[in-house]
Amino acid sequence: MINDVVAWLTDGSNWVGNGGDQALTRLYEHLLLTVVSVAMAMVIGLPLAVWLGHRGRGGTLAVNVSNIGRAIPIVALLALLSLGLFGSSVLGPFGRAGLATLVTLALFALPPIITNTWVGMREVDRDTVEAAHGMGMSEVEVLRKVELPLALPIIFSGIRLAVVQVWATATIAALVAGPGLGRIITHGYDADDPAEIIAGALVVAVIAILLEVGLAGVQRMLDPVARARRATAKRDARRGSGSRLPVGPTP
């Protein structure tokens, strides 16, 4: 079994050839779908949630949008959109039912982005914001120089959640005539080829975990407080003196 899977994965003809209808094309479709749909959700969700969070409004919406998103099966939305509004024709590099898939994925990327951005903006210490106002910062400056940098780690964790979730969701598109790596798996079931099923599943799973781990690393680098602490620690180490700021554990 394991040998068959390795054989499938190392067989070049499974990756390229057949008029570009092989795994590498699926991988490209999958990555493209993930990036574009998350970007679409960011363009819509980020400004909306930053503004709502800054004004302290729309909390019910921001929190409930995630609960609603969880209750809607991906398969259902994809099937509804591909049979209805958007059809299932090929959309350029996005593949079969490209538009329906893209819109579905963007809709599923919205909740984590909106919820986390809103929560991140609200979690910024109110005293800090007041102090910034007291220093004579304008509304825009407070938003740009204080609230956004402090909220950045939580906002980014929303984007990370969205990416990982969309990567997973895009796999399911194959169940409803859609594009992406899921088609390797569904093809494996249709052709009754266990090696292909497992190989496809492995590729999908390994990249999902890499995305999660990699983005978690980026998120740690974005935390301004932790970054400042690291910088101070480094400077103090160079001077040979003890750390002046209490260096907490890096999150």
Binding site: A76, L78, W167
Partner: protein, 240 residues
Amino acid sequence: MTPSLVPTLSSVHAPAVDNCLTRNDWICGAYFSSSRVDALQTALLQHIGIVVTSVVLGFVIAFPLALLGRRYRKLEAVVVGGTTAIYTIPSLALFSLLVPVTGLGVETVVIGLGLYSLTILVRSMIEGLRAVPDDVRESALGMGYAPARLLWRVELPLALPTIMGGVRVATVSAVALTTVGAILDYGGLGSLLIEGSSTNFKAQVLFTSVLCIALAVALDLLLVGLQRALTPWQRTAASR
């Protein structure tokens, strides 16, 4: 649009049947023939069965893991990290990776969804137990509560709202994800959904979609009711 062509085409071959089925309308009363209602009923029962079994399975495994994780800090990191890694794996891939171990049956879907529930439940249990105030714990110990009695009579009741929150999230997610089980022919309503989608049967796709969401909402409300019944002290506190 293609749907408008359907009656014209069918009237060439088999004349005179013009109803919402041949027009392929989204909403169609004729869809509910007795054989389709039977199929819907079977699918709905399968769906509920898969959801309930997988969440219960996840709960039964999560509970001892959470207790162990609370006692041994290092184990907690392993448990939380491990379950998070599983949670990251897309459902279609997870089911497929389980197939060599658990076969092509309903067990694979139940175990896969159970693993997702496990992640959500372990976290909410650890979080809920950790949020129990230390002075409450100390007063219970001072009153002579043994560790087991402390857990069942003091800590778990206080952690219950957080744990029930986890159960709700796990259940609603499981309802949505069960549809993916259609790849193994055990997707409950998802099997009908995908059948409808591949045969371009709009009435079936819309109705099973709505039914899926209604099931998630119904189970969620049921759990809210259960939580209220289990925590009567919260109601009296709120009404005061």
